[in-house]
């Protein structure tokens, strides 16, 4: 069984392109061209140069000694937090902006929740001198003021999404609506492994640099390119897709996907989609999503604005269904505790999203010498206010 997308754009029963006819030409253009572009020598060369010299890749794979001692395993951190703009998101935006340029697009649109993907998109648009419009929920604009300011400073227009719950899912709806209205000159730069085919596959390929480097670095550092386990957080799932990608078919590497449980999986305030959701169509893709008995999408909750998405990418829905990945979750408090711990014993302030991945370490029963890679997808600068507020409560 393959865990990669099939020729029809599906991962088993998940995926596809459930789009209004209005978007058919846009998606068809992308579907017909994305592999040709991604596999062309000129793309590969430019992508690598930008990742090396602009983003700062390869990111280190760091053996966290004190963390390892505490949990009784060899815990390596893949330092995506050290990327330019502070998270893995830029791997994808660099790749897609090159695709957009190749397709001759003049206007870039994107959705953002916490603002990380918005910032990463605004950054590459500044770099490439392209117009950038970022849709962001009105609620998120208020919650994430520094990132809104960064996007504006980078020259992007930030458009508030005022529909529905005024958060990430609605920002995504607004971006899709804009694309419907501007089908010819506009490129929709999606930030995660979600959306209609070919986006989930394209974004996974662009993020797969993470697991490609983990393999090379582990080989050098341990003599074996395969760890026993990889842990990554999942909102839409792009950092997890990147960290898992080159290990999908290597069965003895255990894949752990960590969702945000908010105030508790069954508290009614959660974003643990795989536990609470079931099969449906969201943002153009068949996947697992949180919905009521009539198929109305339920707004999720997490302290981490990067994880409160009501669906997961179709690849992850498939990994969950086939039990190729183990889906765990961490509450707000567990994530906060994990963040404070990493800060104190390793001197690294993680993003709240990445803290969810770290938060499952205490729940594991490791055997001595087990090699565990945690994908540290982003840095915590953007979450300082939350960290400071909650530190007072500790």
């Amino acid at each position: 069984m393959s865990f990669f997308v099939d020729k029809n754009g599906y991962y088993g029963q998940f995926g596809g392109a459930f789009i209004p006819e209005l978007l058919y030409p846009n998606i068809k253009e992308l579907e017909d061209n994305y592999l040709k572009i991604l596999e062309s020598d000129s793309f590969k060369k430019e992508f690598k140069e930008l990742l090396d010299n602009y983003v700062g890749r390869p990111t280190p794979l760091y053996l966290a000694k004190r963390l390892s001692k505490k949990y009784g395993a060899k815990v390596y951190l893949k330092r995506e937090d050290l990327n330019h703009t502070g998270a893995h998101k830029i791997n994808n935006t660099i790749g897609q902006i090159l695709v957009a340029k190749q397709l001759g697009k003049k206007r870039i649109i994107a959705e953002t929740g916490a603002g990380q993907h918005g910032v990463a998109t605004a950054t590459v648009c500044a770099l490439m001198d392209l117009e950038c419009i970022v849709f962001m929920g009105e609620v998120d604009i208020k919650r994430q003021a520094p990132n809104v300011a960064r996007m504006k400073m980078l020259g992007a227009t930030v458009v508030p999404a005022k529909s529905g719950s005024k958060t990430l899912k609605d920002a995504t709806n607004e971006a899709i609506r804009d694309w419907i209205g501007n089908p010819e000159d506009t490129y929709y730069l999606i930030g995660s492994v979600v959306g209609p085919h070919p986006y989930p596959d394209m974004v996974a390929r662009l993020q797969s640099i993470i697991s490609k480097e983990i393999k090379e670095q582990l080989l050098v550092q341990t003599g074996n390119e395969n760890p026993d386990m990889i842990i990554a957080c999942v909102g839409g799932g792009s950092n997890a897709a990147g960290a898992f990608y080159h290990y999908l078919d290597t069965k003895n590497v255990q894949l752990i996907a960590v969702e945000a449980a908010g105030l508790g999986v069954h508290s009614g305030q959660s974003a643990a989609t795989s536990q609470l959701g079931d099969v449906g169509v969201l943002h153009g893709s068949k996947t697992i999503l949180m919905q009521d008995k009539y198929g109305q999408v339920i707004e999720p909750y997490s302290i981490s604005a990067g994880l409160d998405y009501p669906g997961i990418g179709p690849l992850h829905a498939f990994l969950h269904e086939r039990e190729r990945a183990v889906f765990m979750n961490a509450t707000d408090q567990e994530a906060l505790d994990a963040a404070y711990e990493l800060t104190k014993i390793e001197g690294i302030i993680p993003a709240l999203e990445s803290a969810h991945a770290l938060a499952v370490l205490p729940k594991m029963k490791f055997t001595t010498g087990q090699v565990v890679v945690v994908n540290l997808s982003g840095r915590g600068d953007k979450d300082l206010e939350t960290y400071i507020t909650h530190l007072k409560d500790e």
Binding site: F18, P20, E21, L22, G181, D278
Partner: protein
Amino acid sequence: MSKLTSLFSEKQHNLLSVFFTAGFPKLNDTEQIIKNLESNGVDFIEVGLPYSDPLADGPTIQHSSSVALENGMNLDIIFSQLEALKDSVKTPLVLMGYLNQILKYGESKFCQKCKDCGIETVIIPDLPMIEYENHYQQLFTNYGISNVFLITPQTSEERIRKIDKITNAFIYVVASASITGAKGEISEKQMAYFERIQKMNLKSTLIVGFGISNKSTFNTACKYMNGAIIGSAFINFLQEKGVAEIPSFVTEIIE
């Protein structure tokens, strides 16, 4: 022969369809809206199933959907409302909803309910042709349901011909590259697009929608196509004037 097919066999010009969101402005307005539209000469009626994430809809229909959901509208309620009207309403009704609603409700159960209510036509904007052919065509046919496809100014001639071939209701001609909602007058560019479609001599009845808001845009659309659908403008009217004033809205357009 479906009600819509027999309508089209009798009337081929100036067909007027009106869209409303079920459950808006009030949960139980469905009967009064449908009866008012019918008695004032609307040829067929689109009943919108309110959805939390209506991708193809503009602010007006989004808002009406949110209100309808807050009012408690759901598929069970709309089906029971429509079933009660089955014998008294002769005007063809078309259900418009998003795929996830149907998936979650159960595809066969949805079809059975449509049949029970005398619904023979559905519009599911996020159900692409390929998925329809692979997974829905047979099921819908079994229940006597026709699916309506949309075409836009960007749809290729080859694809339009294919849609024409598998259509047995009507083709929904989206007036411009946009989401639903009023946009003022019909531009020359749009007229050129209508003319291009007109010249293709398609077998299907052609109904224009998205941006048809008043007598003037309705008449222009009807010069090229068999008829037109008014949605957002009617929702706005309901919001401002209320259900009781519907006769004046319809007569304004067809008088």
